[in-house]
Amino acid sequence: MRLLEVTDLRVSFPTPDGVVQAVRGVSFGVDRGRTLGIVGESGSGKSVSTQTLMGLTRGATVTGAALFEGRDLLTMPREELRRLRGARIAMIFQDPLSSLHPLYRVGRQIVEMIRVHEPEVGREQARGRAAELLGLVGIPRPAERVDDFPHQFSGGMRQRVMIAMALALNPALIIADEPTTALDATVQAQIIDLMVRLQREFDTALIMITHDLGVIADIADDVLVMYAGKPAEYADRRTLYYRAHHPYTTGLLESIPKATGTRERLQPVPGQPPSLIHLPPGCVFHPRCRHVMDRCRSEEPPMLAVAGEGHRSACWLPGAAVGPGAEAERLRDEAQAAGTRRRDKGEGDVAPAD
C-alpha cells in the first residue's frame, strides 16, 4: 500500500462569474522515501490539489478519494485532519513569514507545536528538541537562536526554520509548495540540498510543488505535469526530461533557454492558458498544441500508458512518439496527417492504463 494514494480528485469553486473548475480528475501517489514533483503553471491546479488534501480549500466542492495510511483525508472529520496535519503530514509554504507568528520566538513556536501533538513531552525537553532541530537544518548557534523572533532571520534562514518545524514531529509526508521560489539561487541551492539530505535521513515522502523545472530536475523521483486542472503527463524524472510524450511537457522544456548557451530561437507554447470557467472542448491543451488533430477538438484524452514503464500521458498522439528524436517526430507528423487515427489500432503495443 502506498503512503498516499489520491484518486480522481476534483475541486471546484463557485464564484460570482461562474464555477471555477480548479482540479478536474487528478490521481497520484507517493511512497516513503520518494519524492513526487508536481509541475504546472499558474492555474494548473497544482497547489489547489494538495491544499484540498489538507482541508485548506474552504467553500470548494470536492470529490474523489485521498487515502493516507489507509484513511481518506477527504471524508475525515475536521478535528482528526487537524491532528494529522503537522504530526503525520507537514507543509512548507513559499512564504515562511505567513506561517510563522511574528510575535513569538521561533523556539516557542516549535515547542508549542510539539506539545500540542505530544502533550507528554515536557517543556524543557521540547525546547531541547527545538534547538536540536534548528541545528539539524543548518542554523548556526541553534541554542541561542531558538530565542529569536522570525524577523531576526533572513529569508533563507526562515525557510530553514519552517523545515525544522515541519520535521519536528517526524512526519511521514512533507508537502512543499514552491518552497524555494522566493529565494535567491545560492540560497535555493542550500535549501534543496538540505531537503534532499533530510529526506534520505528520515525516509520521509515528499511532494514538491513548483513551476520550476530546474528544481524538479534536482529533487524529484517522479514527476506529474498538470495543465488547466488536469494531469497532462506522469513519468519518472529522466523519462520526463528526455522522453516526454505530451506536447505541453515538450513545450515547457523548449521554452527554457538551454544550459549549453546556444542562442537558437526559443520555441514557446503559443497562446494563453484557458479560462477555468469556460474550458475548451476536447483536450484542454488543443488550442495551443502544435500537433492538434481533429479528434483532440472533441474527445478529451484520458491518462494513457505510453512507451516506457509507468509513463502515462493524456494525449492522443501515438504512444511510441516520445522524446525529441527524428523517429518520434515522424510518428507525430504521421499521426497528425492521418488526423483522427486511433492509436490502439495504429500502435498495437499500447494499452490504456487505469
Binding site: 471555477v20 480548479a22 499558474s42 492555474g43 470548494a60 494563453q272 479560462s275 470557467i277 469556460h278 488550442p287
Partner: protein, 314 residues
C-alpha cells in the same frame, strides 16, 4: 482559501472566455451588483424614497393638503387629538392638524438634498486634501494630517449649536456643518489609499515617461480612488441624513416650519401616546432609508472589491 491573483486571471482572461470586449472594471462591478439581491432591494427602496420626494407636490395636489397647511377641524378631534390614518389623511395628521404623509414627502426632499449635497461637498474636500497629502507626503502631509486631527477632535454638536445660534438655522449652513465634520474621515482614507497607489509600478512608469505630478494624480491616482470613494460616499449619505435629522430634532437644523424628518419626529414627541403613528411613520421611514443606503453601500463595496480587501474600513 480564496483564489490567488493568477488564478483569478486565468478565470477572466482565458482564450476561451466568451467575448468580453469592453467589460471593464466598472461594468464587471455593475454586473456583480445586479446579482446581489440585498443591494438590488436596497436600490429599489432608495429609488422609492426618491420618488416619494419627487411626488411631494403631487401628493399635496391629490390630497389637497399643503405641507404647512393646518386642518384644525378635520385633522384634529374635537378634543384636539390628531386623527389617525383615514381616507382623508392617509397616514393621519400631526399635532397641528397637518397631513403627515405630505409633510414626510416634503421632508424626504430635505433629507435627500442635505444627505447628497453634504456628501458631495465632503467628498470633493476630502479627496482633494487626502490626495494632496498622500501624493506629496512630507511637509504637505504633515500639515494636512494635523489639520484633519484638529477637525476630528472638534465637538461637532457644540459647534453646530453655536453656529445655529449665531447665524440662524438654515439648509446651507447645515450642509456646510455636516460636510465639514465628514470630510476628514474621507480625507484620511483617501490619503491612505493614495499612499498605497503612489508606490505602484504604474505610477513609477508614468514618472519614467516624464509625466508631471498633477497629470499623474489625475490620470493614474484618481481613477483608482473612485472605488473606495464611491463606497465611502454611499455610506456617508445615510450618516448625513441621520445627522440632519438629529440637528433638526434638536431644533438646530432647518427652519422649524420646513417639514424635515427630524423636525417631524420632534413634533411627535408630545403626541406619541395618543397617536403612535405620528412617531412610528417618520421613524420607520428614516430607519428604512438609512438602512437601504447602508446596504446599497455594502453591496457597492462588495461589487467593486470582490476579493474582500475591505476598502474604506481602515
Amino acid at each position: 482559501m480564496s483564489l490567488t491573483e493568477p488564478q483569478i486571471e486565468a478565470v477572466h482572461s482565458g482564450e476561451h472566455a466568451p467575448a468580453v470586449a469592453g467589460r471593464g472594471p466598472w461594468r464587471l462591478a455593475f454586473d456583480r451588483l445586479r446579482r446581489d439581491r440585498a443591494a438590488v432591494v436596497s436600490a429599489v427602496v432608495v429609488a422609492l424614497v426618491v420618488v416619494l420626494a419627487a411626488c411631494a407636490p403631487l401628493l399635496a395636489a391629490i390630497t389637497g393638503h399643503g405641507p404647512a397647511e393646518r386642518f384644525p377641524t378635520t385633522g384634529l378631534t374635537p378634543e384636539g387629538i390628531p386623527v389617525g390614518p383615514s381616507a382623508e389623511f392617509w397616514l393621519g395628521a400631526d399635532g397641528l392638524g397637518r397631513d403627515l404623509l405630505v409633510r414626510l414627502a416634503y421632508g424626504a426632499r430635505i433629507s435627500l438634498l442635505v444627505g447628497v449635497l453634504a456628501t458631495l461637498l465632503a467628498t470633493v474636500f476630502g479627496v482633494t486634501v487626502g490626495m494632496l497629502a498622500g501624493f506629496f507626503g512630507g511637509a504637505v502631509d504633515a500639515v494636512l494630517a494635523r489639520v484633519l486631527d484638529v477637525v476630528l477632535s472638534f465637538p461637532y454638536l457644540l459647534v453646530a449649536i453655536v453656529l445655529a445660534a449665531v447665524y440662524g438655522a438654515s439648509i446651507p449652513l447645515m450642509i456646510f456643518v455636516i460636510a465639514f465634520f465628514s470630510f476628514a474621515a474621507m480625507a484620511r482614507i483617501v490619503r491612505g489609499q493614495t499612499f498605497a497607489i503612489r508606490e505602484r509600478e504604474y505610477v513609477e512608469a508614468a514618472r519614467s515617461l516624464g509625466a508631471g505630478p498633477f497629470r499623474t494624480m489625475f490620470v493614474d491616482v484618481l481613477p483608482n480612488l473612485i472605488a473606495p470613494v464611491t463606497v465611502l460616499a454611499s455610506l456617508l449619505i445615510p450618516t448625513s441624513i441621520v445627522f440632519e435629522a438629529t440637528l433638526s430634532f434638536l431644533g438646530l437644523g432647518v427652519d422649524p416650519r420646513t417639514p424635515s424628518w427630524g423636525a417631524i419626529l420632534a413634533d411627535s414627541v408630545d403626541f406619541y401616546r395618543v397617536s403612535p403613528g405620528l412617531l412610528l411613520f417618520p421613524a420607520a421611514l428614516l430607519l428604512i432609508t438609512t438602512l437601504a443606503f447602508n446596504m446599497l453601500g455594502d453591496g457597492i463595496r462588495d461589487a467593486l472589491d470582490p476579493r474582500g480587501d475591505r476598502i474604506g474600513t481602515r
